[in-house]
């Protein structure tokens, strides 16, 4: 091997490391250790119970489907309450559609749960789906500007001022819970009912459920939870507070999460 070639190989090797290795190394550095606990385990519905030890506040929600099944029309009330309070536009067509919380049949909410003989209760039951405020959110990982980020209390929030509209988060969300403002939303917000305390969005940004951060700051419950009144259909609270109502519900009921095998650790639980 002549000297030139040897020199070259050195440079080529080094530059390969710089070109390919650096991003991975950076990511490792940034991710740090603790997360790997949840990565290490793989597949299977049992994953949800193996989440890392609770630290700090983690806001979450329990949806009691039995109550929704018994109160037809309650879910629609939740959707209306949410969409009104957040000035979510109604375009009246599927292409431009924006939605934060909506009803879908069981097999769409819980894909991959095969039903050879479908449970009678599930037949005409529809489930409310909303942003899961994952403990390990793929959308936050994907966002190139930190326009979507996880707050200390576990809420996955959006900063509409910063969003560039690349829609990487929409591709990354395995639940289909993000919507994009394909066009100016303002003309499609009902002027009679809109909430003047809450801004609208502009075209070209992504939006989704924010667990009502602004209402929580004022000591209120999320709009959908409030809409349920005292039916107990929805319970909101700190998943890490052993004295909270939500933890008691989780302790005493069998609950499921959407797509737990993906390791996103959703904070929304369902009692079916």
């Amino acid at each position: 091997m002549d000297i030139k070639r040897r020199q070259f190989l050195k440079i080529a090797g080094l530059s390969t490391i710089a070109g390919l290795g650096a991003p991975a190394a950076f990511n490792l550095l940034l991710k740090g250790g603790p997360d790997t606990v949840s990565y290490a385990s793989s597949g299977g519905e049992a994953e949800a119970s193996h989440e890392a030890a609770p630290t700090g506040v983690r806001l979450g929600m329990v949806i009691d489907q039995r109550v929704f099944d018994a109160n037809k029309g309650l879910a629609q009330k939740c959707t209306t309450a949410c969409h009104t309070v957040h000035n979510v536009p109604n375009f009246g067509n599927k292409k431009d559609e924006i939605k934060w919380i909506f009803e879908v049949p069981f097999e769409k909410a819980f894909t991959g749960k095969s039903q050879y003989h479908k449970n009678k209760n599930l037949e005409d039951s529809s489930f409310l789906v909303l942003c899961n405020h994952c403990d390990n959110p793929p959308c936050v990982r994907a966002c190139p500007t930190k326009a979507t980020f996880k707050r200390k209390d576990g809420i996955v929030a959006m900063d509409y001022h910063r969003c560039i509209g690349c829609r990487f988060c929409m591709a990354a969300c395995p639940y289909g819970m993000r919507s994009f403002n394909w066009r100016d939303p303002r003309p499609f917000i009902d002027q009679k009912t809109h909430n003047k305390e809450f801004p609208t969005r502009m075209r070209g940004v992504v939006e989704k459920c924010n667990f009502c951060v602004d209402r929580l700051a004022r000591g209120q419950q999320p709009a959908c939870v409030e809409a349920c009144g005292n039916t107990g259909a929805m319970t909101f609270g700190d998943l890490n507070d052993s004295h909270s109502e939500i933890v008691k519900l989780l302790d005493n009921n069998f609950t499921i999460q959407r797509k737990p095998s993906l390791g996103t650790n959703p904070s929304v639980f369902y009692i079916v």
């Binding site: 980020f149 200390k152 209390d153 900063d159 305390e197 801004p199 502009m202």
Partner: protein
């Protein structure tokens, strides 16, 4: 110089056109904006001087604190509490966007996109 007879007059015409607005408005600053302050209120969260030069910075900071850090503790000045919010803070006193915000923004030809999302008091859209 090659083709000087074209280049020099060309340059003169170019410079004249580019500086036309200066010649035309010589000695005239145009109509100086007079933003209308809220009646009966004498204090803001900062001095008038600071607000005039840096209100946009203050709004950015408030936004980041409220939205990103989740810190929505009201700003307290001389015992009066102000919500850290454009719509639910600033605009509670400064109720007339046209006579307050737009007055200077139009003059300075800046187009902040605040109003794409945030409501103006009494606005219909």
């Amino acid at each position: 110089m090659y083709d000087g007879k074209y280049i020099i007059p060309g340059l003169i015409v170019f410079v004249a056109l580019m500086t036309f607005p200066i010649w035309k408005n010589m000695g005239n600053a145009g109509i100086v904006p007079k933003p209308e302050k809220p009646v009966g209120v004498t204090k803001c969260v900062e001095s008038a001087q600071y607000m005039r030069t840096s209100h946009m910075k203050l709004l950015d900071d408030w936004r980041d604190e409220a939205l990103r850090d989740g810190d929505r503790t009201p700003v307290e000045v001389d015992g009066v509490k102000y919500e850290k919010s454009l719509m639910n803070g600033c605009l509670k006193c400064h109720t007339d966007k046209k006579k307050f915000c737009d007055e200077c923004h139009v003059y300075a030809s800046v187009k902040p996109y605040c109003w794409d999302c945030h409501y103006v008091p009494k606005e219909t859209f």
